[in-house]
């Protein structure tokens, strides 16, 4: 296990990776972290600062960490790079200790910790020893070297020791790492691990916090290893499930302000950060550079048949759009109080929205889902494009094409969207057996959602196409929409049980405006959506992650904000669920 952890530590980068896990590690060791790494702010050589007693200490000490990734080499010690260690240590000596050390800790003994993911190379060992001797002559500080080996020891003894992480869970982690080249299997083992760690009912808050930290560190280990084998698919999926289970633990602490609750919230932020790292890596490595190239991503799938391409491309679409929505969420949070917020958000969102549009138009398989449930990915993409606000014509063009193709497929017995989820059965779709159509198109969320989006744009033509497909081919099909219910909060993040309620037999035959009134009116009768903790505590993209990961339709509350007041005959003012950037 230690080798696994060391390998993981050695592969971490300094910024955003090694410094991201250290605070949790120190907290778990019993130290009080009073300074965390931050971007853009002056560090004066200190990446993480903590105070307290470690196992061998008699008194409280101040621990100042200067972090370097990988092995420490000559350039890493005293090169011309801004990340060189010696200049950082000089800054600690010259600036941090005299000026920035908190007053309450000035009487405490200071320990400067050289923290490395790897080892100190032989070539610089003498120079470091010399520097430490010279430093000690000037001031009464001590030095400690926290190399990869020591960090691995700490992680193993504090996070992953037998009492905290039973052998079965360790085995799951090892299997998840070993099978990274087969992401489906790797994810399955990791998800089992997360589910077992996430089962915290009846446990103390402190134990819950430890579980959350374990989740984060395990995810980091998986991610670091996944990068090494050049396949982060399992890490992406594992990131989603870890985040959701992590929130399931954290939400209970959202309104508490005890020390443990605050640490829990901070750890969740770390976990969220890890998730974003993975998601960003996945999208920038495997999607964004190829989205504007014709057929490139379809070719990348390299599947046995067109079904593989269709399934994967809608999956990619959902992930890309979700990445855009998280970006929007993060930017909105950062810039909330600034005057030109919306303009800036729109600008930052544009690359994602553009990539989504290019992805669709360069990979035509995205013009028609084979599974009705792929409406989930379509919904996330439409939501992003609506928020971005400059893609009305593209959305309409996409939906129009989708409906045309669906109608055509029904007429020509092509691969129309169906309710089949089994891959083997999808390979045979569509068959011409008696009752095949009625059995495999018994319900649809896709078409009412298209009708809903048509209503938001007042597009009678697309709405008519939805009516046509219903009247000409799918009279037997139950058009339906999903709403969260009272049990959704309990199960949304873990998916242990089915939850939510369905508005059944949605009447598409009525006029467009009446249809929209009916659907959005139902939102008012379904207030449970806004009561979901992710909404309540401002992390609404978690709902989208949950819907994407557990394959549940996106609540239509997300789209209500895009209904202009003029379109509504409802007496109440519509309340925005998601803030609009510049919805048009």
């Amino acid at each position: 296990m230690k080798l696994i952890i060391r390998q993981y530590l050695a592969s971490l980068k300094e910024r955003g990776e090694l410094d991201a896990i250290l605070p949790d590690l120190l907290s778990e060791l019993g130290l009080n972290v009073y300074s965390r790494p931050g971007r853009g702010t002056r560090q004066d050589g200190v990446d993480v600062a903590a105070v307290g007693k470690l196992e061998d200490d008699d008194t409280d000490k101040v621990y100042l960490f200067s972090i370097k990734s990988g092995d420490l080499t000559r350039p890493g010690w005293d090169g011309n790079t801004p990340q060189a260690l010696r200049p950082s240590l000089n800054e600690i000596r010259d600036t941090y200790i005299p000026n920035r050390l908190p007053v309450e800790h000035r009487d405490k003994e200071i320990v400067i910790c050289i923290c490395l993911g790897g080892e100190i190379r032989e070539e610089v060992r003498q120079q470091i020893e010399g520097y430490i001797r010279q430093f000690n002559c000037e001031r009464s500080v001590t030095f400690q070297k926290w190399n990869g080996d020591k960090l691995a020891d700490v992680i193993q003894s504090k996070f992953l020791r037998e009492e905290l992480l039973p052998e079965e869970s360790r085995s799951q982690l090892r299997k998840a790492l070993a099978l990274l080249d087969e992401p489906e299997a790797s994810y399955r083992y990791f998800a089992d691990l997360i589910r077992s760690l996430g089962t915290v009912e009846g446990k103390e808050d402190k134990e819950q916090l430890t579980a959350l930290r374990q989740m984060n560190i395990c995810l980091w280990i998986l991610y670091a290893w996944a990068r090494d084998v050049d396949n982060v698919e399992s890490a992406y999926l594992s990131g989603e499930i870890t985040l959701l289970h992590g929130w399931n633990i954290t939400k209970a602490h959202a309104e508490k302000s005890t020390k443990v609750s605050n640490s829990t919230k901070e750890t969740f932020q770390s976990l969220l950060f890890t998730y974003h790292q993975i998601s960003y890596y996945f999208l920038t490595k495997t999607v964004l550079p190829f989205a504007d190239r014709q057929h490139a991503l379809s070719v990348a799938v390299g599947g046995s048949c067109d079904l593989d391409i269709n399934l994967r491309m809608f999956d990619i679409l959902g992930r890309l759009a979700l990445g855009g929505l998280w970006t929007y969420y993060l930017l909105f949070g950062l810039l909330e109080n600034e005057a030109d917020t919306r303009e800036e958000i729109t600008e930052k969102l544009t690359p994602y929205a553009t990539a989504v549009k290019r992805l669709i138009f360069n990979n035509p398989t995205l013009f028609l889902p084979i599974k009705d449930s792929q409406v989930i990915d379509i919904s996330i993409a439409v939501l992003l494009l609506m928020i971005e606000g400059h893609s009305k014509s593209e959305i309409k063009s996409w939906l129009d094409e989708l409906m045309q193709r669906a109608i055509f497929c029904h007429r020509a017995n092509g691969k129309y969207p169906c309710n089949i989820e089994s891959y083997a059965d999808l390979l045979d779709h569509p068959r011409r057996d008696e009752n095949y159509l009625t059995e495999n198109t018994c319900g649809s969320v896709l078409y009412p959602m298209v009708g809903l989006w048509a209503s938001l744009y007042g597009d009678e033509q697309i709405f008519e196409q939805v009516k046509t497909i219903k009247s000409d081919h799918l009279q037997h099909c139950n058009f339906q929409l999903w709403f969260p219910d009272d049990t959704s909060e309990q199960h949304s993040y873990t998916n242990i049980e089915d939850h939510g309620a369905v508005l059944s037999d949605v009447d598409i035959s009525q006029p467009l405006k009446a249809f929209a009134d009916q659907i959005f009116g139902e939102c008012d009768h379904s207030p449970q959506c806004k009561e979901l903790s992710a909404f309540k505590y401002g992390v609404w993209p978690l709902i989208l992650v949950a819907c994407r990961h557990y394959r549940l339709p996106i609540p239509i509350h997300f789209f209500k904000a895009f209904r202009s007041d003029a379109d509504s005959t409802q007496p109440e003012q519509s309340e925005e669920t998601v803030p609009k950037a510049s919805a048009k």
Binding site: D181, E182, E184, P364, L427
Partner: protein
Amino acid sequence: MNNLQDKLVQAHRDNRFLDTVYELSIRLSEKEKRDLTHALVALHNTSTVDVVAAFSMLRNVPGDHDFSLTRHILEDVLPELNADVLSVMKCVILLTDEAGQDLAAYTLIEPYIEFCSRRPSRPHEAIELIQKDASSLIDLLSPTLIAGARRNVVVYVQKALEFVNHSDIEIKKRATFSLGRIQYQTKNILVNMVINFLEGTVDQEDDDSLLGNIIRSTFDIYRQNPRTVSHAVSIFDGALKKGAEIALNAASEVFGFHTDDIPPSLLNMLLKHLVNVRPEHKGTLDNIDFGLEKLLTTENTQDAAIAFLEQLLTNGDIEIGVLDSATRLLLKNKNGLLNRLMTRWFFGGGQALCHAIEQIVKLSHDKNLILAADPDELTNTDSIRLIFLARKAIGYLFFYPVTATSILLSLVPFVKDEQTISKITELIFEPLLLNHPGEVGGYLEERSNADTSDIKAISQEAIQAYEKYIEDMRGVEKLSEHRPPVTHHEVFIRRYSCQIRQIMCEAEKQSVMMQLVKKSVLLYGTKSINYIGEPYAQNKRMEIPRLHNIDPFSLDYMLRTFRHEKIRT
């Protein structure tokens, strides 16, 4: 000779007469065969052996002595025999029936006619016998009348006409048939009487077989006396209007086997009716095919043939593939005939005709058949119609991409604006080159090295666009994240193997090949090393369209659109 007769007599005594005749027939030279014939005649006419009775014992039994060869001896002998008419008639009927569906089944009829015509009493006696026992002997009515007419044409034509008025439809049919076979020599009055009679019969009769015989006889009479053409046209028209598939088949025989003898007025009328042929009537279609091939090769009938072909293909469910002679002729593209049809039919946009072009190209042994738009069909054509034709070529010839590309490139000299040139280039790139880079790429390379500046530029531009497309793919092969799960691949392979197994089993059941060769299972290796005569084998390749997996819907949808779109007038 006597020796031969002795052998035959002895064989007759030993009940090995027919076996001996057969053995002698295959062993003897032509001259000796003649001796055999004479010997048989002599034996019969001297009442030594009843040859007719002996041959009446001949049976068509597989594995026994050869039925046809043995019967062939009788064909030579029969006219010379002094035999009882009834026994000859029974023997002829029996041996004709025994022959079954054999093409040579009726070869005894002419010797029978010759036998009857040798003595004036024989036809008369035969007719009396037929009238007494029509159910058994009716098949010999026509030959008997023909034989009689050789002795006395007036009398036996009169008898034939009487029989045409008979109440029994079978007698009517046979009598009608005989009217065409009788040689009228210079007796114009008699011919006029018969032709008028047939014209009247057409008005009165509805039986399809009878109408078919009227058509055959009318044409035979016309050939003997071309002045009857106007009557012939009228009779054909009447018979084909009232008749069904048998009448149409008779007309198709006339069309297919006597194409050069058909006068224009009759040809036009025939073509008007022959377009009504049904796809299931293979024999009729074969006859039409022979006639059509001849018309297409003749300059002054080519337009009529094309018009007929267009109507035939447009009318119903007939595919051009069934007209194999005509298709082979078109594939030769002599004087640009196929180019002309392709251009005209794609411009027209009619599905049946466009599909016919696809079928013709499909039947070509040359997968890279080169076609070009016919300049005569392109005069005053605007760019919309040129692009329309280009899209039709792609829609129907997508799986023959070099042929489609050759058509698109042939349009270039007729394009007047850059925008249309760009559209043609785009169409060559996608879907043709993009889906068939091997075949189309090779063809474009060839054209870009050899052609005029416009075509060279377009070929190079399309190739460059493809190279850019491939360049854009660089790096995607490393994206292991997007690979489908291993489980999906395994499911796919299992299903695919299962399908292949089923297809193989079905194919083996129907395979003639598997009846000729043995099946060998190779346990190791990827190929089998065999030496069969020729030291080399032809390498057949098939390129799977790139979009087949990437986006089959768009490909299918695009091809369907290209096929079905029409120009609004």
